[in-house]
């Protein structure tokens, strides 16, 4: 379980998260919602040691991870897919994926990359193309595939559908749902609350650097006023 206690973090002197506490349940899809600047991305970056942390604790499976350097966090079974620049744009799809399995032996790496192509069929015919030349949706798939190849038990994704057409966004969430069915815990920061609430059973809402709501997505389906209260949305919209 990922457990965050009274986390205070930001960038240099700018403090974004103020004593934020939240627990993330294992084997669930959790979405983190909130307005721009509420600290959603900062929360994910803090887990990966990319912010200035001035207080609190972050434990994963009862192990404190504050202080572990960014390049060693993935060894704990946590993968992070940043929002922007989440691929190596000057390299091919295959090279990107190979970097994610760099620890594995040659044979095992090839096997795992093949499995990634099974799981993300859209990438198969683009294997030797430079990722910088691909569409937003394809790039997002490369980034998610890289995260998955690191064999994580917990995956953090920062706005995986930002800037994508609704149909492509749906594909991304279908892929993420498949990953969660394989037993990976997912934490997804989203701008698009309606889409996220359809797919993620757990919901956290941040406002100004603190947690203001945590619950199940059913609650939102039953009670439209919740969304209005927390996100200023009028209705979740029926499918």
């Amino acid at each position: 379980m990922l457990s965050i206690r009274e986390l205070t973090a930001g960038y240099g002197k700018l403090e974004i998260l103020h004593q934020l506490s939240v627990d993330i349940q294992v084997n669930h899809m959790t979405t983190i919602l909130g307005a721009n600047g509420s600290g959603k991305s900062t929360l994910l970056k803090s887990i990966f040691g990319l912010t200035t942390i001035t207080g609190g604790s972050i434990t994963y499976n009862d192990r404190e991870i504050i202080g572990i350097s960014t390049e060693n966090i993935s060894k704990l079974g946590i993968a992070y897919v940043p929002q922007r620049e989440n691929i190596f744009a000057s390299m091919t799809v295959r090279e990107n994926l190979a970097l994610a399995v760099r620890k594995a032996s040659r044979a095992e790496a090839a096997l795992r990359i093949d499995r990634a192509f099974d799981l993300f069929p859209i990438l198969t015919k683009r294997a030797n193309q430079r990722t910088g030349l691909m569409s937003g949706g394809e790039r997002q798939m490369v980034a998610i595939a890289m995260g998955w190849l690191m064999n994580p038990s917990l995956m953090l994704l920062d706005e995986p559908t930002a800037g994508l057409a609704p149909l492509v966004a749906k594909e991304v969430f279908e892929t993420l749902y498949n990953l969660s069915q394989k037993g990976i815990t997912l934490v997804i920061v989203e701008q698009n609350a309606r889409t996220a609430l359809r797919w993620c059973e757990d919901v956290c809402i941040l406002r100004e650097g603190t947690l203001v709501y945590q619950g199940r997505n059913d609650a939102f389906a039953e009670d439209d006023s919740l969304l209005h209260t927390y996100l200023g949305l009028l209705s979740i919209g029926k499918q």
């Binding site: 960014t70 060693n72 992070y80 190596f88 390299m91």
Partner: protein
């Protein structure tokens, strides 16, 4: 007469261009992987030349031993510069301007240590003690053994470097750092180790090019500094990121400095004292007209994206 001068200058362009290419690749690698415009590269070159000089006098005149030891000493100097100067600045998240100034400082320190050494042991403008032989002679030109060391060695090293970058896990990791440093850390690449290896590689390249440069001319504490502007001109022509662009840039600069200079002198009586201005002119023209250098010509190639 003119034909003979022309052929002579073309041979010189090729020899000088190959060495510029070796040095400029080191600068391109430092710039893209380590994000540092490293002017101390000049002094890594000089360190290689002095190692070659000392080895050739005291240890062996076998070119392989000379080049090998020059590579080792210069790569150690490069790594020590990283650990003692560049890394502490990186840790403070210093801007590229501060890093650039730091590289000047490192270069100055090394240069004056070399001055002291040269002064103590009387090593100014000395020739590296390798036997000079004529390997090929026609009516119009002479090719010495030096030509056959410099040009093939450079070509082999450039090919080896391309293979390393494109076909090995270390090369892929170096390109990952060049492309997206934060993502490289996020996916668990041991970035500090990759940086160390890059410094060793860059230092070794500089050391070998310094030894070869010293073999074809003579060794002095200022020799690296004198060529560094030409080398930066070559690297800028390559857009500071593309390998093929950098190599082409190196030959263009060397050709301008030697063959074009020679022609201008012969036909129009232009003084050779204008030669050092040529790299400046090239840098200014490239930055004005084509800031991206030759990179566009090599779009299909995988370049080290900055």
């Amino acid at each position: 007469m003119f034909e003979r001068i022309l052929i002579d200058s073309l041979i010189r362009s090729m020899q000088v261009g190959s060495l510029y290419a070796l040095m400029a690749l080191g600068i391109t690698l430092t710039m893209s992987v380590l994000k540092l415009p490293n002017f101390a590269h000049a002094e890594f070159v000089t360190v290689g030349a002095y190692t070659a000089l000392i080895v050739s006098r005291n240890v062996s005149t076998n070119p392989i031993i000379i080049l090998g030891l020059s590579a080792i000493v210069a790569s150690v100097v490069a790594l020590v510069s990283h650990i003692t100067v560049f890394r502490p600045f990186e840790k403070q998240k210093s801007s590229i301007y501060i890093m650039l100034l730091a590289s000047f400082a490192v270069g100055l320190i090394i240069r004056y240590v070399l001055f002291l050494t040269a002064d103590t042991f009387d090593l100014f403008d000395q020739r590296i003690q390798v036997p000079l032989e004529i390997w090929y002679r026609t009516d119009n030109f002479i090719l010495s053994n030096v030509f056959f060391w410099v040009v093939p060695t450079s070509i082999v090293l450039v090919i080896a470097l391309s293979l390393l970058l494109n076909a090995t896990p270390l090369g892929r990791e170096m390109r990952a750092l060049a492309d997206n440093f934060d993502l490289a850390r996020v996916i668990g690449i041991p970035v500090e180790r990759v940086k160390w290896l890059t410094w060793l590689l860059v230092g070794a390249l500089a050391g070998i090019s310094g030894a070869l440069w010293g073999i074809q001319t003579s060794v002095s504490p200022l020799m690296g500094w004198v060529v560094i502007l030409s080398v930066f001109a070559a690297a800028i022509l390559g857009g500071l990121s593309s390998f093929p662009g950098t190599i082409l840039g190196a030959y263009v600069v060397a050709f301008s400095e030697n063959t074009i200079m020679q022609v201008l002198n012969f036909q129009f009586g232009l003084s050779f004292s204008f030669k050092p201005a040529i790299p400046f002119i090239i840098i200014v023209i490239v930055l004005l007209i084509r800031p991206e250098g030759f990179t566009q010509f090599f779009k299909s190639n995988r370049s080290l994206k900055r």
